[in-house]
Symmetry: C2
Subunit: 271 residues, 2 copies
């Protein structure tokens, strides 16, 4: 690897165009790669999933501001390419990539593989047809913060490598295994076979969160944006759990998920 | 009020322009009015703060879909104006007002007035220089969901009548008193004088949430987006509380606030 590569300065080059294309799902599926934008996401990629980092692009200003990137990229064996602000802006999906962007390969892990490694005290998160990228990213962030062992994403959910999901997960995407590509009903069977209790989080649930025993292994099944799950999904779960609120319809999915995952974490760490 | 007003169809009229201007803070300050976009926000405005609704604009399609609007507007004594899709799009700040938009007058209530009505079991939320509109709106939504008695917003915070705050609060803005216009240090003194314990929520706090007694009257002091408060603010609080997480820096302000406010609610309702 050369110590000081030349500055990438042509925003209309083929290379820039092919990276920009990764903002679209079709290109991500074809090339099995996706964009990671901003210093925090790129840092977590290099630290926790360095083998999946393919290239890092950053402006000279960002390189001076984030001096750790050079060392992290070297440790991960990744090419670090200086680029102009215009090139970065052209590659990025967001209007503020903050001078840092990486291309990463997608994670390939099945739900069975993820659950094979589960411990007796673990809990996981199932994204059941969650379509809003901001909600999906925030739930992944919460799963990370509160120590879920994994996230299992159903086929009908948003692509977790969508730039908006990647941004709102703020690096959590690289901290825990995330399986994709399994239809929801199959995912629930796999969880059940792995000995997990299935807890559906639903605003209309008849069991209030404080009444739920969260000590054993379980899966939180989180539904769509209106914080609801289909009847057929609810029927496959062991309990339908609601977060007690004072006024109806005032939590969104990310807020409800945050409370439920925090409760699972608290059940493990507060005695 | 005429039963069937003519269709507003000129997107370049002065009236449309003056409503569109309310997307900017200067115009909101000058006219003391703001925009409420989308059916859920407008419905909550009419139901819970009808006296503050000045006019409702909706497309014929939205009127057919949301038949309750007619009755709600009549009950609130508000003029309901049919408008074309183009007129709505021109008035709105968002690209998807879903065919419904209202103009409302701002709430004027001081922190002292709000706190004069507090009960012995009440808790409130202080927004301490929160600048991100999405976070502010979500915290207001959480305050509503978990039964906070009021929200007190410091002068250096985002304008709560910013269209993005209004949208992300999804009607909660009209469910509880929200004071604005008081500098943070003064706000904390007023809370203290009202007998509230001041709990700063801070990722680096040395008291873990489960160790905090939330039974008495208290104020959650919530800081900026990086989920931090200034040292001078922390020094004015009784406790600096953190939400225990497995990995550092993985909660945002809205998530931390959701967990803290839920804990206050649970301390009141779960015995």
């Amino acid at each position: 690897m050369s110590a000081d590569p030349p500055l990438l300065d042509n925003p209309r080059s083929d290379r820039v165009g092919s990276i920009r294309a990764l903002g679209r799902r079709a290109a991500r599926d074809r090339h099995d790669r996706f964009l990671v934008e901003g210093p925090q996401g790129v840092r977590e990629l290099l630290r926790h999933a360095g083998h999946r980092a393919e290239a890092v692009y950053l402006t000279p200003e960002a390189a001076a501001r984030h001096t750790e990137m050079e060392e992290l990229a070297r440790a991960a064996g990744v090419h670090l390419q200086r680029s102009t602000e215009q090139v970065l802006a052209e590659m990025a999906d967001t209007s503020h990539p903050q001078g840092v962007l990486a291309v990463a390969t997608r994670m390939h892990v099945t739900a069975e593989q993820v659950l094979a490694d589960l411990g007796p005290d673990d809990f996981v998160v199932v994204l059941a047809n969650v379509r809003d990228p901001g909600n999906a990213g925030t739930v992944i962030r919460g799963a990370d913060a509160f120590g879920a062992a994994a996230v299992l994403v159903s086929t009908a959910s948003v692509d977790i490598n969508n730039p908006k999901v990647v941004r709102s997960s703020v690096g959590s995407l690289f901290h825990l295994p995330i399986s994709t590509g399994t239809p929801l009903s199959e995912l629930l069977s796999i969880c059940r076979d792995a000995g997990l209790r299935l807890l559906a989080a639903d605003g209309a649930g008849d069991t209030a969160l404080p009444a739920v025993d969260l000590s054993g292994p379980h899966a939180w099944v989180l539904g769509n944006e209106a914080w609801g799950l289909e009847r057929t999904t609810l029927a496959l779960c062991d309990e339908v759990v609601s977060v007690p609120i004072v006024r109806a319809e005032s939590l969104n999915l990310a807020m409800a998920a945050t409370v439920c995952l925090h409760a699972s974490s608290a059940a493990r760490h507060n005695g």
